[in-house]
């Protein structure tokens, strides 16, 4: 058994992937290296920055701190799975981030958007304080926080209307 690959089925963005993973292999590594889903960026790789946030069963978690082997049977959503799969239409959060310059260098954006999605799904009418609190674990080295908060609030408005 020692060092052998463990077969797992990962459900990512609604698709099932059969992969062999090492016991100490993070979800982030498997997403990027084995599934080719590079929309989830690797930044600090030690749970300090929030860039690699994905949603597991609707909750924001750090994929760099999650063992892939633990993810079997769970619903994983990455940034690639956020737009409508049939029409390609962007999610309201993606739209407002584009329209209102929610991204500068873009590295923190997937994590910001997914963390914000979990917030709005649980609290459709967040205040700016709610947004800042929810996104406190996502660092933006460009310092674009005011616009990011504005984009999230705008997306929440759009989602209420839709």
């Amino acid at each position: 058994m020692l060092g052998e690959l463990i077969p797992v089925v990962l459900r990512v963005n609604g698709d099932d992937y059969e992969v062999g993973v090492k016991p100490v292999e993070t979800l982030l590594d498997v997403l990027r290296e084995k599934l080719g889903l590079t929309g989830t960026p690797m930044m600090c790789d030690e749970g300090e920055c929030g860039s690699c946030t994905v949603l597991i069963d609707g909750k924001p978690v750090l994929s760099c701190m999650t063992l892939a082997v633990e993810c079997e049977g769970k619903d994983i959503l990455t940034i690639e799975g956020l737009a409508d799969p049939a029409t390609g239409e962007l999610h309201p959060l993606q739209r407002t981030f584009v329209e209102r310059s929610g991204m500068q260098c873009g590295i923190c954006t997937p994590g910001m958007i997914l963390t914000a999605k979990a917030l709005i799904d649980g609290n459709p009418d967040p205040t700016e304080d709610d947004v800042r609190e929810a996104l406190a674990g996502n660092l933006c080295r460009c310092g674009n926080y005011p616009r990011i908060a504005e984009c999230v609030l705008a997306a929440a408005e759009l989602m209420k209307g839709g």
């Binding site: 058994m1 020692l2 060092g3 463990i6 090492k22 016991p23 100490v24 292999e25 993070t26 590594d29 790789d45 030690e46 749970g47 300090e48 920055c49 929030g50 946030t53 909750k59 924001p60 978690v61 750090l62 760099c64 701190m65 999650t66 063992l67 082997v69 633990e70 963390t115 609190e133 929810a134 406190a136 674990g137 996502n138 660092l139």
Partner: protein, 291 residues
């Protein structure tokens, strides 16, 4: 990430986990939330041959309360579940405050309270509330179970009383007497994703204007989280005054053994200890008077 050769084991029960750890003594690590252990593995500070994932063992993430036993928290309750628990917020709010400061939302949803304690960082958020609340840790090992006061749990930086085959399975927190209040305060550079430069927990029980009982614990200022007994003695049984508070705060500074570190100079840390102890007692007294 470096992929050391590791065998991954998922035991079905705590007892099975203990006997596996005994069998692979010195080569196995228990894995729960993983937010500390994975960083240590990535930095190659620990290189276990066996990872025993105990988080999947069902039935250990409860938060329950009854009149006889007080509060009981299962080992794998997450920091977030403690931070938002209406029960803990109502009766033991300082513990909810501290758990809510740990890491970030993402980290809190993964990190377990047992992991926070067993990792035994000097700055561990949940340690000082449990110290002042007089909590006990229920521990199960290959030879059976025992209960240890949290006060005796920490033995050094990242060291605890746990033997290699032992698992912290439950925290037991007795109810506070009437007219009690408690707070957790910390000083950090950032509001999130940061470790405390100083953390302070206090619990006070009032009899009119007199501090019937007072407990103070400090984090990040010594190898382990510690009670500030000297400061407590100054205040216990006394009528509260500004001068007395300053004297107690100054005495608490004496508990600090940390030299300059990456987070703060020793001088700054000592200054902050006094400020936070005084502030925490004032706020706890205010709370106690309100109930």
């Amino acid at each position: 990430m470096v992929g050391p050769k590791v065998e991954y084991i998922i035991p079905k029960t705590i007892e099975e986990a203990c006997s596996l750890a005994l069998k692979h003594k010195g080569e196995a690590k228990f894995f729960a939330g993983g937010t500390d252990l994975l960083v240590q593995i990535k930095h190659q500070e620990v290189l276990p041959k066996y990872i025993i994932n105990i988080r999947g063992i069902p039935g250990y993430d409860y938060i329950i309360h009854n009149e006889r036993d007080g509060l009981r928290i299962g080992a794998f309750a997450t920091a977030q579940s403690i931070a938002v628990s209406p029960l803990i917020r109502e009766k033991f709010n300082l513990l909810a405050q501290a758990a809510g400061k740990l890491g970030s939302l993402q980290i809190r949803q993964m990190a377990t309270i047992a992991g926070n304690l067993c990792n035994a960082a000097p700055s561990a958020e949940t340690a000082t509330p449990l110290l002042v609340l007089g909590a006990r840790a229920k521990i199960v090992g290959a030879d059976g179970e025992r209960t240890v006061p949290i006060e005796d749990f920490f033995t050094g930086v990242r060291r605890t009383v746990l033997k290699p085959d032992e698992i912290l399975v439950e925290l037991q927190v007795p109810d506070l007497p009437p007219h009690s209040g408690g707070v957790y305060l910390r000083q950090t550079v950032r509001k999130a994703l940061d470790l405390a430069i100083v953390g302070v927990s206090t619990v006070v029980t009032m009899d009119g204007d007199v501090l019937n009982d007072v407990r103070i614990a400090l984090a990040a200022i010594a190898p382990t989280p510690v009670r500030a007994r000297g400061a407590e003695e100054i205040l216990r049984g006394k009528k509260i005054t500004g001068g007395l508070l300053q004297e107690a705060g100054q005495r608490a500074v004496g508990e600090c053994t940390r030299a300059d570190s990456i987070r703060a100079s020793a001088e700054y840390r000592r200054t902050i200890i006094k400020v936070l102890v005084v502030r925490a007692i004032e706020q706890a007294v205010e709370q106690a008077r309100a109930v």
